[in-house]
Symmetry: C2
Subunit: 242 residues, 2 copies
DNA sequence: ACGCTTGACATGTTTAAACAAGTTGATTAT
DNA sequence: ATAATCAACTTGTTTAAACATGTCAAGCGT
C-alpha cells in the first residue's frame, strides 16, 4: 500500500501548487531540476507531470516548460466531475462540512424494473440505501444506492452514514477502478422537493446515475444522486489529447 | 502532424475494440505479443494501453492482462463529457447527423455584465454567435459562443455553420488545450422553449458553460450550450487514480 | 483428493540513454 | 540597426534492461 515514487512526486507537486508555492501562470522547475530534487529518473518525474496535466493543474509546453494553470475552486458550492471521487472526499478537499442522514437501508432482490434501471441481473440480492446529504448544513443531494450483496457483504447504518467507499477500500480491501456515469436534468420527485427544500418554482434536479466496477470488472454498485440545481453544479477540466 | 508511434498503436487498438474484434470481456494480447505485432518497445505499447485505460476502453489487471470493458453507446442520443470534443466530432463518432442553424453573428464589446459572466475583460472585442444545433433533424442544443476577436479574427456564417474548431485548428493553426466547464440544470428561457420545442411541462435545460484556452494559456472562448433535457445526457467514464 | 510449492507469464515500477524538435536569447554577419 | 545563425536550454518520443509483484495452472507430496 505504500506510495510508489511517482505518486509521491505527484502528490508533493500537487500540494505545492494548491498551496500557492507555484502560483497560476508560473512555471515548474524544469525536468532536469526536478530529477535532482527528487533524485529519480526523468521518466519518473515525467509521469507525475503527465498526471498533473490530465488533472488540469499543469499545461506542459514543448520547449518552454510546464505552466501552472490550476486555480482554486470558485465561490459557489461545487465539486468536480471527471474522477471517481466520493462525496466525502470532494467535500474535504473543498473545506466543506458534510453530514449524511440515512433515510433507509433495506435488502431487496432485483426484479425486472430494477434490473432495467440499474444493470444488475434479475434475482441478484442487493442492498438499497437512501440517504440525504448535507453540505454546510444544507440538504443538497438526494442519494440512492444499490450495492451487490455478494460483493460488499453487510453495510451498517454506521457505515452508510460515514463513507461507504472508505469501508469498501480499507476494510474489505476492494479495489474500485472504473465507473460509467450519466449526467442529466430530470423532473423533481415529491421526495426531492421535500428533502432538498426546492423553491416553489423549481421542479427539476441535476442527476448523476452511474455504475461502478471493481478490479475484476464486476459491477458492484449502481448509484443515483439527485442534486439541488440552484446550489450545485459540476466542474470539469479537460485537456485535448488529439 | 504525423502521428507518433504510440498514437498509431492507440488508434489501431481503439478501432479494433470499437469494431468488435476484441469484444467486451475479452483480453487484449499480452504486452509481449503486442511488442512483436507492432515492432516497438514495451513502453510504447504500454503508453497506448494506458490511454485506452483512461478512455474507459480497457481495464488493465496486474498479473492478468488488459480486459476490454468498452461497450458501444447506448440507445438514447448522448455524447460524452470528459474530453474536449466538439459537437461535430462527437456526432460523427456516434453516427449522428448534425445540422447547424446560425441564428446570429455579431461583434460586441464586453461590458460589465458580459465580463462577469464570461470571464473576458471589460472592453475586449468579442464575436458573439448564436446557433441552434440539430441532431438527426431534432433541435437539441441552443448554443451561445463568445470568441476573442484578437485571437480568432473573423468568423463567417459559413464557418459557424460547420465547425469552428476545425477552422481554428486547421486554418488558423491554433492549438486548443484545456477547458474548464461547468455542468448544471437551469430554468428554460423563452427562446429555449421555442427553439428546442420543449414539452409543455418541461421548463428546464441541461446547461454546459465553459472557458477554452489555447496553448499560450489565453482564454479565447466562452461557451454556453443549453441542451434538451429529455433527449440529451452526458456520459462519462472515469478511472480512479488513487 | 487435498493443499502446497513452483515456474511461467502477466503487468507495474524505475533507471538509463539517445535522439527529435520547439523556444529563447546571444552572437554574428550583413 | 536588422536579420540570420547558433548554442543552450526546454519538453517529446523511443528503445532497452532490470527488478518487483500479482495470477494461475501444473505438478508435487501428503
Amino acid at each position: 500500500m505504500t506510495d510508489s515514487k511517482y505518486e509521491k512526486i505527484y502528490k508533493n507537486l500537487k500540494a505545492q501548487i494548491e498551496n500557492g508555492k507555484y502560483p497560476k501562470g508560473s512555471f515548474l522547475p524544469s525536468e532536469n531540476q526536478l530529477i535532482v530534487s527528487y533524485d529519480c529518473a526523468r521518466n519518473t518525474v515525467r509521469r507525475a507531470i503527465a498526471m498533473l496535466n490530465s488533472d488540469g493543474y499543469l499545461l506542459s509546453q514543448h520547449g518552454k516548460g510546464a505552466q501552472v494553470i490550476y486555480e482554486p475552486h470558485e465561490t459557489q458550492s461545487l465539486f468536480s466531475v471527471g474522477g471517481i471521487e466520493s462525496l466525502s472526499e470532494a467535500t474535504v478537499r473543498n473545506n466543506k462540512k458534510l453530514k449524511t442522514k440515512v433515510l433507509s437501508i433495506e435488502e431487496i432482490t432485483a426484479d425486472d424494473e430494477i434490473s432495467m434501471m440499474s444493470g444488475f441481473n434479475v434475482g441478484e440480492k442487493l442492498i438499497c440505501i437512501k440517504r440525504l446529504r448535507y453540505i454546510n448544513n444544507e440538504p443538497l443531494i438526494n442519494d440512492y444506492n444499490l450495492f451487490l450483496k455478494s460483493e460488499v457483504g453487510e453495510i451498517t447504518k454506521q457505515i452508510a452514514a460515514s463513507s461507504v467507499y472508505d469501508y469498501l477500500e480499507n476494510e474489505l480491501g476492494m479495489v474500485i477502478t472504473t465507473s460509467r456515469r450519466r449526467v442529466m436534468a430530470e423532473h423533481a420527485r415529491e421526495e426531492d422537493k421535500k428533502n432538498l427544500r426546492l423553491s416553489k418554482n423549481c421542479d427539476f434536479v441535476l442527476t448523476v446515475k452511474g455504475q461502478v466496477f471493481d478490479s475484476k470488472g464486476i459491477m458492484f454498485e449502481y448509484t443515483e444522486s439527485r442534486h439541488h440545481p440552484e446550489k450545485i453544479c459540476f466542474i470539469q477540466t479537460a485537456i485535448r489529447n488529439k
